[in-house]
């Protein structure tokens, strides 16, 4: 028999216990006012020793069974490519539908991500204004139904938060290849020395391929129209601790990476030493140490209670593992759920104004919750450039998911003239990472058949070459930013429900032209660098036309924007939910931050890094709100 249980009131209720909630919880619980904080997550607490140190080597259970990930039978989503299609639910985590699984439990998706980091530069925060200023009319020409918006703050506004957040999570790297020339129109994410001009820990050791890439970048002339005189290669920024580390200002010690090889690899593997930065091993301990923080696990939040009179969220309702309903009242609510789960719970609860697509012509939309869904990841069938280095390797070599490689930001943002190009932005290019996905015995087993491996001696030779190859393949799949459009959005599915009977989120999304147009140009430029590396057989493979998105990878972004206009964004610059009201705009007690809130497809792969500063700013906003409720002003 299920019961309804009323929980004690808390000053702050965090929905989810991942990257964003962890930091907000720690910051608010550590405040001198002794605020009482609770974080509620649908999964368990993972102990990296007892849960991961031996069992994660179960490649079948982890890679295919996805035993650490959010169980789809409980909650999934539906996907479609256009508003006229019937969306179908995602029922399994394997390709081609999805191999980047959603996280589960304390730490969220960061328990098994690759730890790739990299700040977004000034252009990324002001894409619309800078494009309209520098290339009038281009945006409409590329994507006539675009719904691009600027962020509420520019890079300089976020930089102090970047620095603080990087010290907490412990990032490795040097800088961003930035010449630190803040006065130029180059769009590197520069690192102001007043905040610390480098990441706290040194980068992971570079692989031989990375070193060759670095040398080749320095020796390759920039493409025509470049605003830089030579490439600026730099070690990849990673959140996998390269050294023993104690974070600041929380004092939580962190173990270094042991390069076990079972790391990101399609986001399969959790870390067995806690070196992979996530809330469970960076921020939650600091919150716990205050005595002001409670962590509730295996709790499925199914509704927020919205009081339309006071314009506040008053309660969060969740099921525990036994099916009991818990009612959690609070003064402030922070939503740190995974992106479209964040949107879904708002739509289910009547928080905010749901986005409504108008097919036009011309296309348009109203409302904000669910608006502007984008993608921060390459189409897996995308344009690519490949080549072969005459360099032996060992597929069993240890490593991790985001160390060892070298990146350039020079082909990103507006660091080259786009006047005669049919896209905006560019891509971060990186090469030479470790093999961090485990040896891949599943793939091997799946690939053994007489038709593709031969038999007898042929089979043995192929397997030997697989594990001790005499050459190394190099390549990249670059793509330009995804531009949000009116017809890409999140709403509630009218047909499919979760295990408790509530509608699933429905994602309407397809690749956009800007991504593909940029990919073709960028692949050609990267081909010149691969050739300079000494690669043979360098080829650019262009994407076949009419390839549609058929995954719901967790690099989908947007849909719950922070912005400058309460009519088209859900949150203001403090990540506070705001509503157009009469006579004035209302600021509610509901805050959120996450990868999903990005207003456009990222210009760097890691939305997590971009979202980090938002969570810090949200924490500051929440503390302001607790002192003086109301609309926070910039």
């Amino acid at each position: 028999m299920s019961s309804v249980i009323m929980e004690p009131h808390k000053d702050l209720v965090c929905l989810g216990a991942g990257f964003m909630s962890g930091l907000v919880a720690a910051e608010v619980a550590r405040d001198s006012h002794n605020y009482q904080v609770v974080a509620i997550t649908k999964g368990p607490w993972w102990d990296y020793v007892s849960d991961f140190s031996t069992t994660k080597y179960d490649e079948w259970g982890v890679g295919l069974g996805r035993k650490y990930d959010s169980p789809l039978p409980v909650q999934s989503t539906t996907i479609r490519n256009s508003p006229t299609q019937f969306a179908l639910p995602v029922r399994r985590y394997t390709m081609p539908i999805q191999y980047h699984a959603l996280g589960h439990g304390v730490g969220g998706a960061a328990q098994h991500y690759g730890g790739t980091m990299g700040r977004q530069g000034p252009w990324g925060y002001q894409q619309k204004t800078l494009t309209d200023t520098n290339y009038p009319g281009k945006l409409t020409n590329i994507q006539s139904n675009n719904d691009l918006q600027d962020w509420p703050l520019d890079y300089a506004g976020y930089e102090p938060y970047y620095h603080k957040w990087e010290l907490v999570y412990g990032l490795c790297g040097t800088n961003n290849g930035s010449p630190n020339d803040t006065s130029s129109d180059l769009n590197y994410p520069w690192m102001d020395s007043s905040y610390g001009s480098k990441y706290p820990m040194p980068p992971h050791p570079l692989t031989q391929v990375a070193q060759q890439f670095q040398s080749a970048c320095l020796a390759t002339p920039p493409p025509q129209g470049a605003k830089f005189t030579s490439y600026h290669p730099f070690p990849h920024v990673s959140s996998l601790a390269s050294q023993p580390y104690t974070n600041v200002p929380y004092g939580v010690p962190v173990n270094p990476c042991v390069y076990d090889g079972y790391c990101g690899g399609n986001c399969n593997y959790a870390c067995e030493t806690g070196a992979k930065a996530n809330a469970a091993y960076r921020t939650i301990p600091a919150a716990m140490a205050t005595g002001n923080f409670k962590l509730v696990t295996n709790a499925y939040i199914f509704r927020l209670v919205w009081d339309a009179t006071s314009h506040t969220v008053t309660e969060a309702h969740y099921y525990d593992a036994q099916g009991n309903v818990h009612i959690q009242p609070g003064t402030v609510f922070f939503n740190g759920m995974w992106g479209y789960n964040m949107i879904r719970i708002m739509l289910l609860s009547g928080v905010g104004v749901p986005y409504v697509f108008n097919s036009g012509p011309p296309q348009s939309g109203s409302g904000s919750v669910g608006r502007g869904l984008t993608n921060g990841y390459a189409p897996y069938t995308g344009t690519s450039v490949t080549g072969t280095l005459n360099l032996g390797a060992n597929s069993y070599s240890a490593g991790n998911a985001s160390g060892g490689s070298v990146d350039i930001y020079d082909l990103m943002d507006d660091n080259f003239d786009h006047t005669n190009l049919n896209f905006i932005g560019g891509a971060q290019i990186g090469l030479g990472g470790y093999a961090g996905g485990g040896p891949g015995n599943i793939t091997l087993a799946g690939g053994v058949s007489p038709s593709n491996t031969g038999v007898g001696g042929t089979f043995k030779a192929k397997q030997k070459d697989r594990y001790l190859p005499t050459t190394t393949g190099v390549g990249a799949t670059p793509f330009a930013p995804d531009i949000p459009t009116y017809d890409h959005y999140v709403d509630l599915d009218p047909h499919y429900t979760d295990i408790y009977g509530d509608p699933l989120s429905r994602l309407t999304y397809d690749w956009t032209d800007n991504m593909y147009n940029g990919a073709t140009y960028l692949a050609t430029v990267v081909a010149a660098i691969l050739t300079k590396m000494g690669a043979s057989n360098v080829k650019v493979a262009t994407t076949p036309p009419k390839v549609h998105n058929d995954w719901w990878g967790h690099h989908l972004r947007g849909g719950c924007r922070i912005g400058k206009d309460p009519a088209s964004s859900v949150f203001n610059s403090w990540n506070q939910h705001w509503l157009v009201g009469s006579p004035s705009t209302i600021g509610t007690n509901y805050f959120a931050a996450g990868e999903i809130t990005n207003t456009a497809g990222d210009t760097v792969p890691s939305g997590t890094h971009v979202a980090g500063p938002q969570s810090w700013r949200a924490a500051e906003g929440i503390k302001q709100y607790l002192m003086s409720p109301g609309l926070l002003t910039p």
Binding site: S2, V4, G43, P44, W45, D47, V49, S53, T54, P71, P73, V74, G105, V106, L167, G170, G196, K198, M201, Q243, P244, Y245, T246, N247, V248, P249, Y250, G251, V252, P253, N255, P256, V258, T273, P285, M288, A289, G291, L295, T297, N298, Y300, F302, R303, W306, H317, Y319, A321, G323, N324, V325, L348, S349, G350, D491, L492, I499, Y500, D502, P503
Partner: protein
């Protein structure tokens, strides 16, 4: 879309879940903020210090991931190092450097018998941002009436505290000392930390 109504009737669901035990606050290793700030300041002040020095004591173990509590900072160095540190931290000096010999509060436990433990070192004391810092130069240990041991020597390991690269006394040396003193509870704590760091057994059994 209007908000949906919360179902009146709770559905009985058998949802898959992983059993979860949330650790208690005492299971998390955290260096207190005052000590952390003092550590950062210390690392900055001693950045150019030539003689060998390393963070020691409970705080040194704590930044290496050992679950102990610390109420002050300690440095293990040589007599020359103690002099050099005293010069660099002259403004923070509380007790001028000099040879100090004293008995530890905790006794050694060898073959189930208690023995007094004495230490002597060229010692100085400081206050960094209100936090106590003890500096031990050429520390020697004597158990019972046995001979004094050699001055402790080590190759420091390094921990990054924020952006500061901080030398720390290796846990292996600490383990050997604790085994020698029969302080197996401390050995166990280091072993637990090493198990978490290397997913395997630590030092000394």
């Amino acid at each position: 879309m209007p908000a949906l109504k919360i179902p009146r009737k709770v559905r009985s669901i058998v949802a898959p879940f992983v059993e979860s035990r949330v650790p208690g606050p005492e299971e998390f290793v955290v260096l207190s903020e005052p000590l952390l700030n003092a550590t950062l300041k210390l690392a900055e002040l001693l950045r150019e210090c030539k003689p060998k020095w390393a963070m020691s004591g409970d705080a040194g173990e704590l930044v290496s991931g050992v679950n102990v509590s610390a109420d002050h900072l300690s440095i293990l160095t040589t007599a020359e190092g103690c002099e050099e540190i005293s010069r660099k931290l002259a403004e923070n000096l509380v007790q001028t450097p000099g040879m100090v010999e004293r008995k530890l509060e905790r006794e050694a436990n060898i073959d189930l018998k208690p023995y007094p433990v004495q230490i002597k070192s060229y010692e100085a004391r400081f206050q960094i941002d209100g936090q106590r810092l003890d500096v031990y130069g050429g520390l020697q240990i004597r158990v019972g009436d046995w001979e004094w041991g050699d001055p402790l020597d080590y190759s420091p390991e390094y921990v990054y505290v924020g952006s500061e690269k901080l030398p720390v006394v290796p846990l292996r040396l600490k383990t050997e000392l604790y085994i020698g003193l029969g302080w197996m509870d401390r050995v166990k704590k280091i072993n637990e930390a090493m198990t978490r760091r290397h997913h395997g057994p630590g030092f000394g059994g």
